[in-house]
């Protein structure tokens, strides 16, 4: 395991750091006055006793280090530990009253956007429960206001601001895709419908923009399940269908709130009772935890049911039955935003065991699972950073390899994409699937009749 060919021995220095045109041109435009003014504004106006308590309370004990996959993957390099990321960004900004250099900011952008998945694992390792992810998001907020956010993720935020979806999917493309999936799915169920804008349906099904853009088959699968389970459901034809939210991750809270508002008001307009969403983690966080709060909704105004919980419901209620269990040895990745973010890990295991014959757990797991390394907007910073993402998540590769599973279930889009990169890079010979893929594959394709 020590040869140059072995990717397990990559170190950060062996990966070239790309220059990001958006960061560079943003820095170019900045003046010391502007930097100081923005930082002071954010710290003064947008933080309060919570931030103060975090800064005053940290005893520099270093226990958070053990929590961070970046630290563990980079041979325990201290600068990757959570508290060090705070020290090298917001503490310094606070100490210098915002009077920081452009080189400092260049580093701060990287630390906050590329060396932290805001997965909150570290706040479970800090004895005081200090929310370091919150502070990294605060740094991102400052970067947003200074207009030095990395290019690709900024572009997705731009897309959000214009189209209310993440991928510049135009209104007609969205509807057209749904109709196309509906048409295809009629090969399996001839009267299958993807009901658009159906007032008073029980459930609004929502997805993230990459589904219509690249993975329309997932909508097909979901429609098949809804139809087979006899659900009274609908999908919106109007903006508000996308539950993803990258603005939440760049600190563009205003756009983030606008996205979450559109999402819930679409559900309100359609008079649905619940919202079910596909297998995405950050989208769940956006509507369950963050976007709703900006809008003054303490908790989401509609029950938001993540796919994991929904599958659990369909299977335990017998609305969907498994014809023949999946044979291959599978393992399950717990996405931060639905396990640490919503405690769905036990339900996920129950579903996996209902669907698969041979399940092996990763270690550590549940709330303590290692992050995929892609979430928190990191993968959305784009291809230029893929190389370092691979290095920064070696520990995940080791964890995966140790399971000996053939199939890796990743019930979150970001995790899915990130783990796909990991599996290829470390040559792990694992297939990656959504849980929905497996249910679709193993389910009995007949229509549920109540009482039968």
């Amino acid at each position: 395991m020590k040869t140059k060919e072995n990717p397990m021995t990559d170190t950060p220095s062996s990966v070239e750091k790309p220059t990001d045109p958006a960061i560079e041109s943003g820095l170019e435009r900045l003046t010391p006055d502007r930097i100081q003014q923005v930082i002071q504004d954010v710290l003064k106006k947008e933080t309060g006793p919570r931030f103060k308590a975090y800064v005053e309370t940290c005893m520099h004990c270093g226990l958070c280090a053990e929590a961070c996959p970046y630290f563990l993957s980079n041979d325990r390099d201290p600068q990757f530990m959570p508290a060090a990321k705070v020290k090298n960004t917001i503490w310094e900004m606070l100490k210098k009253n915002g009077n920081v250099s452009k080189d400092f900011l260049r580093r701060a952008v990287r630390i906050s956007h590329l060396e932290c998945n805001v997965c909150k694992r570290c706040s479970m390792y800090c004895p005081f429960g200090i929310d370091i992810a919150y502070m990294m998001l605060l740094v991102r907020r400052i970067c947003h206001k200074l207009e030095i956010t990395p290019q690709y993720i900024q572009d997705t935020v731009n897309s959000h601001s214009v189209t209310l979806n993440q991928m510049w999917v135009k209104d007609d493309e969205w509807i057209d895709t749904l109709q196309w999936q509906e048409e295809d799915a009629r090969d399996e169920f001839e009267d299958l419908e993807i009901p658009l804008d159906k007032m008073g349906a029980d459930i609004m099904y929502s997805v993230i923009a990459p589904e219509p853009k690249f993975q329309a088959g997932l909508i097909y699968q979901a429609a098949t399940m809804m139809h087979a389970a006899g659900i009274n459901w609908t999908m919106p034809s109007t903006p508000g269908w996308d539950n993803s939210n990258m603005a939440m991750y760049t600190g563009d809270n205003e756009i983030s709130g606008r996205i979450a508002r559109a999402f819930f008001e679409t559900a309100a307009k359609l008079r649905v009772k619940r919202i079910v969403m596909g297998e995405c983690g950050h989208a769940f966080r956006s509507v369950y935890d963050m976007g709703n709060r900006w809008n003054s909704w303490v908790m989401p105004p509609f029950e938001v049911v993540h796919a994991l919980a929904f599958y659990h419901e369909l299977l335990t209620e017998g609305r969907i039955t498994i014809k023949e269990k999946y044979k291959k040895k599978v393992t399950l990745h717990d996405p931060c935003n639905v396990s640490r973010g919503r405690g769905l890990h036990d339900k996920a295991r129950e579903v996996v065991n209902m669907v698969c014959e041979d399940f092996v757990d990763m270690v550590p797991n549940r709330e303590h699972n290692y992050c995929c390394g892609a979430g928190g907007g990191v993968i959305n910073c784009g291809p230029p950073y893929k190389g370092e993402r691979m290095v920064n998540n070696r520990v995940k590769a080791e964890q995966l390899a140790a399971t000996g599973a053939e199939v890796l279930i990743a019930p979150c889009h970001n995790c899915h994409s990130g783990l796909e990169d990991i599996v290829h890079h470390y040559d792990l010979k694992m297939e990656i699937k959504f849980l929905g893929d497996l249910i679709y594959e193993t389910m009995d394709k007949k229509i549920y009749t109540p009482g039968a």
Partner: protein, 219 residues
């Protein structure tokens, strides 16, 4: 000299206790008020049940995974924090003074036990210092203030230890002992020692967010 000693054993004790308790109270009121004013949403997510659940979970020795992953540091820290309160409060000499002042008393530790525990506190502090040097990630975070804070705790315990044994300039050591004890009390509200107040609050908030909103564990 006697009038100076009378001052540090009399009014100065009052002053430092008042600053300590008053400072913490003032701080607590300040935090709660500032939350109400600037981040009122925080109260929407706090529940007593989940606050206590989280604080409780973190009080059980070696229960959080974080504790199990650093057992030595965690174990020493844990004992250190207990002794930090236990030794001074149950020290016979302190109880005698309190008894004479307020006519209240409680059982005291055996002197040699107390002596051993004091040595334990000192050893723990030395361990903390060594850890700050030896463990790279801790060293990376360490600033001069971290050593100053250790010194502030070390001083009363070390001088107490020396005073008990009467090895050195007894009078001076005892005067330093009294003063450094008072100093520690006084700076608690104004330094990161205020984690004795803040930590339960941050823990309670995180515990509530995890327990109430996210329905997950935070240990």
């Amino acid at each position: 000299m006697n009038s100076f000693i009378a001052f540090i054993m009399g009014p100065m004790v009052w002053i430092s206790v008042i600053i300590f308790l008053g400072g913490l109270t003032f701080k607590l009121v300040g935090i709660l008020g500032a939350v109400r004013q600037k981040e009122p949403y925080i109260y929407s997510y706090m529940t007593l049940k989940h606050s206590l659940r989280s604080i409780g979970a973190w009080m059980i020795p070696f229960f959080p995974r974080s504790a199990r992953m650093s057992p030595i540091y965690y174990g020493i820290s844990y004992l250190f924090h207990i002794l930090l309160f236990l030794v001074p409060l149950f020290l016979a000499s302190h109880i005698v003074l309190i008894n004479e002042a307020f006519q209240i008393s409680w059982p005291a530790l055996n002197d040699s036990v107390a002596d051993g525990l004091t040595a334990g506190v000192i050893a723990a502090l030395i361990f903390f210092v060594v850890r700050r040097f030896r463990v790279p990630e801790v060293n990376y975070l360490t600033s001069a203030m971290d050593y100053i804070l250790i010194l502030v705790v070390l001083l009363p315990f070390l001088t107490g230890f020396l005073a008990y044994h009467q090895w050195v300039a007894y009078q001076w050591i005892t005067v330093i002992h009294i003063l450094s004890g008072e100093l520690m009390l006084i700076i608690i509200p104004f330094s990161r020692f205020s984690h004795m107040l803040n930590a339960p609050l941050t823990r309670a908030y995180m515990g509530s967010e995890f327990g109430q909103v996210r329905q997950a564990k935070d240990w």
